[in-house]
Amino acid sequence: MLEVSNLHVRYDDLEAVKGVSFNVRGGEIFGLLGPNGAGKSSILKAIMGLVNYEGEIRLFGREITPEMKNEIGYVPEEPILIETLTPAEFFEFLASVRGKGCEKAKKLVKVFGLEEFVNKPIATLSMGNRKKVSIVSALMHDPKFLILDEPLNGLDARSSRILKEIMKKHVEGGGAILFSTHIMEIAERLCDRIAVLSEGRIIAMGSLEELKSVAKVEGSLEDVFLTLVGGEDLEEIIDAIS
């Protein structure tokens, strides 16, 4: 569904992504896992056209055009919203621009418990509710491909559970999800394949079993991850703290 080849993202002198290549297949959740500053968000932003990049990004075998954004749902780490509008007005704007999504937005507002806040200005909403508005706006037009950047950050337990269920249903229906997180347990439970990023490069990629064999580690994803990104000194640090 999505093919990324030799992707480079630069911010002035800093090269945040250094020649990353991967693909996301239909019916799978592909996780981008890495420490802070590894380049996860930059990859997602490049796919959405939010930052300049070098390399090739193809969705459904074609370069991403503005019209194709109707097939993508994007939840950024920091919600991109219009502060002076209410959620209802914001969803109405999005539905009008995309030409669909009114009914689904109404359903999702109820599912995520946003009814109480739907007529309040977005600027006055809490971080969690802003995140929910961002999630509804990414799902309301039934996109085939979801790009989720730390989507569970700031969500309450109920909403987290709902989103995870939605993600599962989405891939069961043939859709695909590119998912960035730094929470190992979530990646382990949700992702079919994972790319481990460090300093802008993919250092390992595959299913959890494949990663274990690459890292030559038995145990959880956290153990695999720490081995891959160089967390050998962690035990020493923990000892020093205690």
Binding site: L50, T84, T86, F93, A95, S96, A105, K106
Partner: protein, 472 residues
Amino acid sequence: MRSLRELWKISYPLYIDTFLGEFAHRRVKNLERFLKGIRRQAIINKLIISALLVTTGVYSASLSAIDVSAFYLMTLFVVTFFFLHTMTTFVSKGFEILYTLPLSEEEIAKVRLFAFLRIFDVPLFLLTLSFPIAMAVFHGVLSFFPSLVCIISVETLSLWLSLKFAKFFYERISYSTSSPLATVLRIVTYLAWSVAVFGAYGISSMLSVLSKLKGYERLVYEFSFLFPFNYAIISMGVPDPTALATSVPFVILSVFAARRCVDLVRCEARIRIPTSEKFEIKKTGVVMAFLKKDVKMITRNPGLMLIVFLPVGEGLLLGAISMNPTISLMIVLGYLPIVTFVSMGIERRDLLATLPVRRRDVILSKTLLGCQIYLISTFLLMLKSSIPILLFPSVFAMFVISSTMAESLEATKNIYASIGPVLLVIGLSYLVAYIPLMFGFVAKFLGRSVVLSILIPALVEMGVAIVILSTL
């Protein structure tokens, strides 16, 4: 218990946060530079208003009693309305951060009050100091104390009015329901507000004129704010009992206003916005969606609204007086590029990048918004002359070209940092708008048809604009 000095210091970040709130619609790359600019702008704003109030006050004190009254009235209007958008942000804030600090309820109340006073501190301090001194210099030492009471009364009334208006704006206007009626109400209120601000000067002048008319003198005395008080001081040298007595209600009102003001600011936490659980999500066309969004964003921000309504206020004012309609139209056209900068400036590029939207639709929506502003601005002029109608295609072209250029040159990102592109956009806008008028002037001079001389180049420009739109 912390000292008042410490609490005053603590209130500074809250004040800056309030001032910053007015710029919430902007996305900035260099936050540090942006914050520096905001602090500088807060000081400049205060200095401008201080200079206006102090110089007008001292000048009025050197004139007659009626001029001093006119000055009181002007001060009331200026202080009430000049800071209204900052005040609207202030009342919208709960300042919850204060409750996380080791401060008592009483200290929090004081910090809130200080943050409120910081909005007005320099102008009101300078005015309170300079005006009574000027009165003492021009009308004798005896006038110092009464004029001090007068000016403090005016100031407290202004603060109270400003707070009340700000609450009204926030609760009923800025964030009222999203129905078309609410939007119309917002626009009408802002228009009334603009008229009130501009009208302050008109009323001041009218007061002087009315006082000179036979039969109206008494009326002016009775209804002009604090007039009896200062009339007595200036005209008779010593305050006479009748004049003092008629001033007492004003002073009582200002004491009440001061107490209400302090209570409101100290005790009131975040103002609740009325909400309803019912909501509708209705689809419209893409262009209409952008247009509706822009109107909501602009009408909910008093600062942006005032800028966008500059051509409207100017156009209606010029249309109401008997000035040459073509000259009036040229003045209105001079303001129109502002609309482009505001409408393009509020667009979030990061949001646009995630949507299946074509540039053409965005530019067309900005053009239609600009055309609407033009039609409202020139409504009265159209009743006097056909030229504003003939020029409409040219105005359409001007908005298409200026919006396209502003977007391509990123002229709205940071107006101060990209002065070159800004001037280029303004220059080209003027060129497009004024060319048909120039043809009209030449035709009039040569005795040819003015209508065709304006309409033909305007239509050609519109044709070019449509071609540009179709290529986007």
